[in-house]
C-alpha cells in the first residue's frame, strides 16, 4: 500500500516536472521568436549603422551582487539610447538557455556578445560559431574554460589585487605592526584562494612587523565568521586586526568582538572585501573600518570595451574593473548610493 502510494506520488511529480519543463521551453522559444522578430524589424526599418548593438546573456537572478550588475548594464543602455542598443537575455541559471541566447544573437548579427558564463565548461562550440561569424565574445565577471583565441576579452575583478589592497589598508590602520587574524572564504573558491594569496604575499613582502597569527575558513557566512572569531579571540587575546574575505563574515566577527568586551573598529580593526550595504552601515556606526569593493557596476566598462572592439581597437585580454576602497571616514558620504 505504502509503496503503491509512493510510486503514484513520484509519477505525479515526474509528470508535473515534464509539464513545467515543457511550459518553460515554449515560453523561452516564444521569447526567442519575439527577439528574432524584433531583430528583423530592426534590419528592415532603421539603419543601425552608427549604433553599437550588443547582446548580453546574463546568468539570471542569483544574488544581490548580480542584480546590481544587471541593473548597471541595463541602466547604461537606457541612458544612451542613441549610441547603444542592448539585447538582454535572462538564462534563469541554465547554460542551455545562455547558449540559445548567444546563437540567437549571432543570427541577429549583433556587433558584440557579452556573457557571464554560468559554468566554466562547454562553451567551445558556441564561441567558435560566434568567432566564425566575426562577432567578438566578451566574458563578464566569470571566466570560461576555453582557448584564449575564442573570446576577445574578460572584464572582471582581480581578486589577488583586492587582497593586496586590503593588506595595505590593514597596515595603515594598525600602524604597520601587530598581530592580526584572517577569516577565509569557502575552501577552494577562487575568490577565497586569491584574496588570501594577495593579502598574505603583500604582508610578507612589505610589512615584516605584522604577523598573521591564525587563519581559518568561515565559509563566507556570517554565522561561521562569528564562531571562528570567537575562537580566535580566546587563543589570541592580543590581536589588533581582522581581515575577512567577505563583508558578511566581518559582520559576524564584529558581534564576536563585542561579546568579548572589546570595541570593534577601535580595539580590533576590520578590513573586508565586497562592499555590501550592511558593512557600510557598520562603518557609519564606527564598528567596521574598511571594505575593498568588488565592483558589480560593470555597465559603463562593458559598453566602452564593446565599442573599442567594434572599432577594431586593441583590447587587453583581461580588462580589470576599477574597485574602490571605502573607509569609515568616507562611508557616510556614499552609503545612500549603495545599490546592493
Amino acid at each position: 500500500m505504502k509503496k503503491k502510494l509512493l510510486s503514484v506520488v513520484i509519477c505525479a511529480a515526474m509528470v508535473s516536472t515534464l509539464l513545467v519543463g515543457c511550459g518553460g521551453k515554449t515560453e523561452q522559444a516564444a521569447s526567442n521568436d519575439q527577439a528574432t522578430e524584433e531583430a528583423k524589424a530592426d534590419e528592415g526599418g532603421a539603419d543601425k549603422g552608427g549604433k553599437l548593438v550588443v547582446g548580453f546573456a546574463q546568468i539570471g537572478q542569483e544574488s544581490g551582487w548580480r542584480d546590481a550588475e544587471t541593473a548597471s548594464i541595463q541602466q547604461y543602455a537606457a541612458e544612451h539610447p542613441d549610441e547603444v542598443e542592448l539585447k538582454f537575455a535572462d538564462a534563469q541559471q541554465k547554460q542551455e538557455n545562455q547558449i540559445k541566447a548567444i546563437k540567437s544573437f549571432i543570427e541577429q548579427g549583433v556587433d558584440v556578445i557579452g556573457v557571464a558564463p554560468v559554468v566554466e565548461t562547454g562553451w567551445d562550440q558556441v564561441f567558435a560559431e560566434a568567432k566564425d561569424a566575426g562577432i567578438p565574445i566578451v566574458l563578464v565577471d566569470r571566466t570560461a574554460d576555453v582557448d584564449e583565441d575564442l573570446y576577445a576579452t574578460f572584464i572582471g575583478s582581480d581578486f589577488i589585487e583586492e587582497g593586496k589592497v586590503a593588506a595595505q589598508q590593514m597596515a595603515e590602520l594598525i600602524g604597520g605592526k601587530g598581530k592580526i587574524v584572517e577569516i577565509e572564504g569557502t575552501v577552494g573558491a577562487s575568490a577565497a584562494t586569491d584574496r588570501k594569496t594577495g593579502f598574505d604575499e603583500e604582508i610578507a613582502a612589505n610589512y615584516p612587523d605584522i604577523e598573521i597569527v591564525a587563519s581559518q575558513t568561515g565559509d563566507f557566512t556570517r554565522a561561521q565568521g562569528k564562531e571562528v572569531m570567537e575562537s580566535f579571540l580566546k587563543s589570541n587575546p592580543d590581536i589588533v586586526g581582522v581581515y575577512c574575505h567577505n563583508d558578511d563574515m566581518a559582520l559576524g566577527a564584529i558581534e564576536a568582538i563585542k561579546e568579548a568586551g572589546k570595541k570593534p573598529g577601535e580595539d580590533i580593526v576590520t578590513v573586508s572585501v565586497d562592499g555590501i550595504k550592511g558593512i557600510f552601515e557598520a562603518m557609519v556606526a564606527g564598528e567596521a573600518n574598511c571594505t575593498v569593493e568588488c565592483n558589480p557596476l560593470l555597465g559603463p566598462l562593458f559598453f566602452e570595451t564593446a565599442q573599442k572592439l567594434k572599432n577594431g581597437e586593441e583590447v587587453e585580454k583581461w580588462v580589470k574593473s576599477v574597485d574602490g576602497v571605502f573607509t569609515s571616514e568616507t562611508a557616510a558620504d556614499v552609503i545612500d548610493e549603495r545599490a546592493y
Binding site: M1, K2, L5, L6, V9, Q61, S63, G64, E184, V187, A214, S215, Q216, T217, D219, T221, R222, A223, K226, E227, V228, E230, S231, K234, S235, D248, L251, G252, E255, E259, A260, G261, G278, E281
Partner: protein
C-alpha cells in the same frame, strides 16, 4: 562502589557524558589549560566552555526533537529549512518589511515565527501519518521547498536588523550564563518531563518497534506521529530564532544548512537506534554537545582549513567506535554487563 559504577554505566547517557568529558580534557591538555579558562567580561562568564553551550544550544534543541522522530523509526530532514523560514519571518517582521502593521514588534515576530514552525511540522506530520509517504521523502519536500520559501520571504537577500531585544535570544545573559542555555533547559526539560511522566514515551518506542502491532494494541499511531513531527518543527523554529538572532539577520542561503545531519549524528552518538525503539532525549542532548565541541576543538587547535572536515570525520569514527558494544566488550572483562538494547 564498583557496583554503583557498573549500574551507572548501564544508563544510555553514561558513555556520551564520558566522551564529552574526554574531549574537554583532551582540549585542556592541548591548549595548556586555556580551554577551561573562564573569565568574567562585562558581567557575564566568558570562555570556550561557555561558547560550546551557547553555540550548541540550537543543536541541542534540534536533537531533542529529532530523537522522538527517530524513535518512531522516522526522520525529519527538513529542520534546517524550517530554521531558515523562522529566521526569515522573524527578521522581516522586525525590520517592518513583512506585516508592517505590527510595527516591528519582537514578541509578535517570535510568536509568528514559531507558528510557522508548527505549520511546517504539521505539514510533515500530515504527509507521514495521513498520506503515508516515507518520512525521508515526505520531509525532503520541505527540505528543498522550505529554503525557497524563506528566500521568497526575504527576496533572496540577507535581512539585517538592529534590535537588541531580538539579539538577546542568542547573545543575552542571565546570571552570567548565556540565554540559549535557559531556552534549552526549559524546552528539553519540559519534553523529558512529559515523556517520562506520561505513557507518551512508551507509545513512541512501541511505534518504533512495530507500528502495525501498536495499532492493533490500540495506540493511535497517526495521532502520535502528527504530534512528534509538529514538536520537531516547533523546536526547529526556535533553533532558527537563536541562529538568526546571533548574526542579527536572516541568511536564508546558509541558516541551518546541513544541520539536519548534525542533529541525526547527535542522536546517534547519544546511542538511540536510528531504526526506532528505545531512546533517550538526555543522551541526544549530550550528543549535540559532543558534536558542537568537535567544532570548537578544531577551531581551538587551529587546524588549517583544508583539514577540518577530515579531522571531524576521524573524531566521529572514534566516538562511534566507543559507542559500539563489540568495541566496548574488548575492554570490559565482564561481558555480562551487556545491555539489552536495540529491541528493533
Amino acid at each position: 562502589m564498583k557496583k554503583k559504577l557498573s549500574k551507572l554505566s548501564e544508563n544510555q547517557w553514561f558513555w556520551p557524558i564520558v566522551i564529552f568529558l574526554i574531549i574537554i580534557l583532551f582540549n585542556t591538555i592541548m591548549t595548556r589549560g586555556e580551554f577551561l579558562r573562564i573569565t568574567i567580561v562585562d558581567g557575564h562568564f566568558y570562555g570556550r566552555v561557555i561558547d560550546i553551550f551557547r553555540n550548541g544550544g540550537k543543536l541541542m534543541i534540534l536533537a531533542a526533537g529529532m530523537t522522538m522522530v527517530l524513535a518512531t523509526g522516522g526522520t525529519d530532514i527538513s529542520v534546517g529549512s524550517v530554521m531558515a523560514i523562522s529566521g526569515a519571518i522573524a527578521c522581516s517582521i522586525i525590520k517592518g518589511v513583512l506585516l508592517p502593521g505590527l510595527n516591528g514588534s519582537v514578541a509578535a515576530a517570535i510568536i509568528l515565527a514559531i507558528c510557522a514552525g508548527i505549520v511546517c511540522g504539521l505539514w510533515n506530520g500530515f504527509l507521514v501519518a495521513k498520506v503515508k509517504i516515507q518520512p525521508i521523502v515526505a520531509t525532503m519536500i520541505l527540505l528543498v521547498a522550505g529554503r525557497g520559501i524563506a528566500q521568497l520571504i526575504t527576496n533572496g537577500k540577507i535581512v539585517t536588523i538592529n534590535s537588541d531585544a531580538y539579539y538577546f535570544i542568542n547573545g543575552g545573559y542571565i546570571l552570567g550564563l548565556p540565554f540559549p542555555l535557559y531556552i534549552v533547559v526549559f524546552l528539553v526539560g519540559l519534553l523529558i518531563l512529559f515523556v517520562s511522566k506520561t505513557a507518551f514515551g512508551l507509545f513512541l518506542e512501541s511505534i518504533g518497534c512495530n507500528s502495525q502491532a501498536s495499532k492493533f494494541a490500540g495506540i493511535k499511531v497517526d495521532k502520535y506521529l502528527l504530534a512528534i513531527y509538529t514538536i520537531s518543527g516547533c523546536f526547529a523554529s526556535v533553533a532558527g530564532l537563536i541562529e538568526s538572532a546571533g548574526i542579527k539577520g536572516a541568511d536564508c542561503n546558509n541558516a541551518g544548512l546541513n544541520i539536519e545531519l548534525d542533529a541525526i549524528l547527535a542522536v546517534a552518538i547519544g546511542g538511540t537506534n536510528l531504526m526506532g525503539g528505545r531512546f533517550s532525549i538526555f543522551a541526544s542532548v549530550i550528543g549535540a554537545l559532543i558534536v558542537q565541541s568537535i567544532t570548537t576543538t578544531v577551531l581551538a587547535l587551529g587546524v588549517p582549513a583544508a583539514y577540518i572536515r577530515v579531522l571531524k570525520a576521524i573524531l566521529i569514527i572514534v566516538i562511534c567506535l566507543f559507542q559500539s558494544e563489540k568495541f566496548q566488550a574488548l575492554f570490559s572483562k565482564a561481558p555480562k554487563a551487556k545491555k539489552k538494547e536495540g529491541v528493533a
